[in-house]
């Protein structure tokens, strides 16, 4: 059963680290695969844009695996409707 949130998180992580998405699973430990704090910040930035959510700083500290990110994103998506973007123009992305 494809999980669109998990797929998006993995694809974004692969893009940030310039590695194949196939090398990443939900169980992948971020530290073990050489993801440092800057990589995580870049990843969260991309996910915030992709899912139109805002990830609180407190949620970031407990992230250890890819699945932690997926679950965190799902929780945020369930808790609130996607935030509307600022301004009247539509995003150019």
């Amino acid at each position: 059963m494809p999980d669109p949130v998990a797929e998006k998180v993995i694809a974004t992580l692969a893009s940030v680290k310039r590695i194949p998405a196939e090398s990443i699973t939900l169980e992948t430990n971020l530290q073990e695969m050489g993801i440092d704090s800057l990589d995580v910040f870049s990843l969260l930035f991309e996910l915030e844009n992709a899912f139109k959510i805002s990830i609180p700083d407190d949620d970031v500290r407990s992230i250890k695996t890819v699945n932690d990110i997926v679950e965190g994103v799902k929780k945020l998506l369930a808790a609130a409707p996607p935030e509307t973007s600022m301004g009247s123009t539509s995003p150019a992305s």
């Binding site: 870049s42 844009n49 805002s54």
Partner: protein, 405 residues
């Protein structure tokens, strides 16, 4: 007795090419890299700048792995690429002790402009409520020096000098003195710049100093500067250490002079640059008659070129007529904080290859610019010593003196 300081390694990426061989070839051939501007969409803001000297075909993924490329703004990528080349070129085996005694002193006028501008575009144009989290560490002007330190494992004194168009000369001069005075056993020094963003180009356009076609320094029909980008780094070490390890020596850095005009934000004076040249000669222990070549600041603006010519005449008197003076900005563009480093490398070419690089695009003599500007074609000539001039907006002048060995 102060130590003598020599250049034993060089790395460069500019519009003229991605390594030293390509750059020297273009300088020798007088082949200008000024082309129509690419990769900047200024259509929405009526950008008038049409030509530039850009680094083409640079693929960061060939130089940085694992997503590292995204952590460095283009200017910092150029810093690292040039520093790696310079270290490979100097052939030294870095010991743990030497790593701690190696300084990194880089010049950059504006730092990571692409990063900050993309962030502001997200905020104000794209209506996003957030800015990329690496905006700050990518924008900071010291990113080049920091990434060189991390990339090469160098742990000595490291900092960035930002004095607009004189940045690299101030950096190289400072590194020269640190090695000379024993504060560092080795230094990697130079400059890097990459600022081709819509906002920066509009800001330059507003100053009305950019040529609508090409850069013709000292030529009567000159219409201004052409902007460039790139990075150049060199390895400085004491002469004795270089000799002891049998290193190839490009030239000696022997003098550095710096002054402030204390006059005007953008209008140069004759006296400020002249005093900087005199100071560089004095520190080098060189008589004016020993200089055979000057790599001029030579922006190609109506304002700079006659004033610089008069400053050279004021320092060199009758010997001014025997000097070869060229502006290689006509070839590699004006790369702001990297300019002095690109030009130092052109000056090394003059000293160690016996080829004076030309002033390209020269069409017509100007009575107000009455020196020998080596028009359009490089000239074979063995010169014993040379100066490289950089003068910044804000009236900050920095001149380096080099001697052949």
């Amino acid at each position: 007795m102060p130590r003598r300081v020599v250049i034993t390694g060089v790395g460069i990426i500019s519009a003229l090419g991605h390594d030293l061989a390509e750059n020297w070839d273009a300088l020798c051939q007088g082949r200008s890299a000024i082309r129509p501007l690419e990769g900047v969409d200024g259509s929405r803001v009526n950008l008038k700048i049409q030509n530039a000297a850009q680094v083409r075909g640079f693929d960061p993924l060939k130089h940085f792995e694992g997503g590292k490329d995204a952590q460095l703004d283009r200017f910092a990528q150029f810093s690292v690429v040039a520093a790696r080349q310079a270290f490979r070129d100097c052939g030294i085996d870095l010991t743990a002790e030497l790593r701690e005694q190696t300084a990194i002193i880089c010049g950059s006028a504006v730092g990571g402009q692409s990063a900050i501008e993309a962030g502001f575009e997200d905020l104000w144009v794209n209506g996003r409520g957030r800015v990329h989290p690496l905006t700050i560490p990518k924008t900071m002007a010291n990113a080049g020096a920091s990434h060189i330190a991390m990339d090469l494992g160098l742990c000595g004194p490291a900092f960035t000098v930002s004095t607009a168009c004189s940045s690299a000369n101030h950096a190289i001069g400072s590194a020269f003195r640190m090695v000379r005075d024993g504060e560092a056993e080795m230094a990697v020094t130079g400059g890097s710049e990459a600022f081709f963003t819509v906002g920066m180009l509009k800001a330059w356009e507003a100053m009305r100093v950019i040529s609508p076609d090409t850069c013709r320094p000292f030529s009567k029909d000159r219409k201004g500067m052409i902007l460039g980008e790139g990075g150049a780094m060199m390895i400085l070490e004491p002469l004795e250490a270089a000799k002891a390890r049998g290193a190839r020596i490009y030239a000696e850095v022997c003098g550095f002079g710096m002054t402030a005009d204390a006059h005007h934000l953008t209008q140069p004076t004759v006296e400020g640059p002249a005093r900087a040249m005199v100071a560089a000669l004095r520190e080098a222990g060189l008589a004016p008659e020993e200089i055979g070549y000057i790599n001029a600041h030579g922006t190609g603006t109506p304002g700079n070129d006659p004033i610089e010519s008069r400053a050279i005449r004021a320092v060199f008197a009758a010997h001014a007529d025997k000097l070869g003076v060229s502006s290689t900005k006509s070839l590699h563009g004006h790369a702001l904080g990297a300019a002095g480093a690109l030009e130092a490398i052109a000056t090394l070419l003059a000293l160690c290859k016996g080829v004076l690089p030309p002033t390209a695009n020269f069409t017509e003599r100007d009575p107000e610019c009455d020196l020998d500007y080596i028009p359009n074609q490089s000239r074979p000539a063995q010169v014993g010593a040379a100066l490289s001039n950089s003068f910044a907006f804000g009236g900050l002048n920095a001149v380096l003196a080099f001697r052949s060995l």
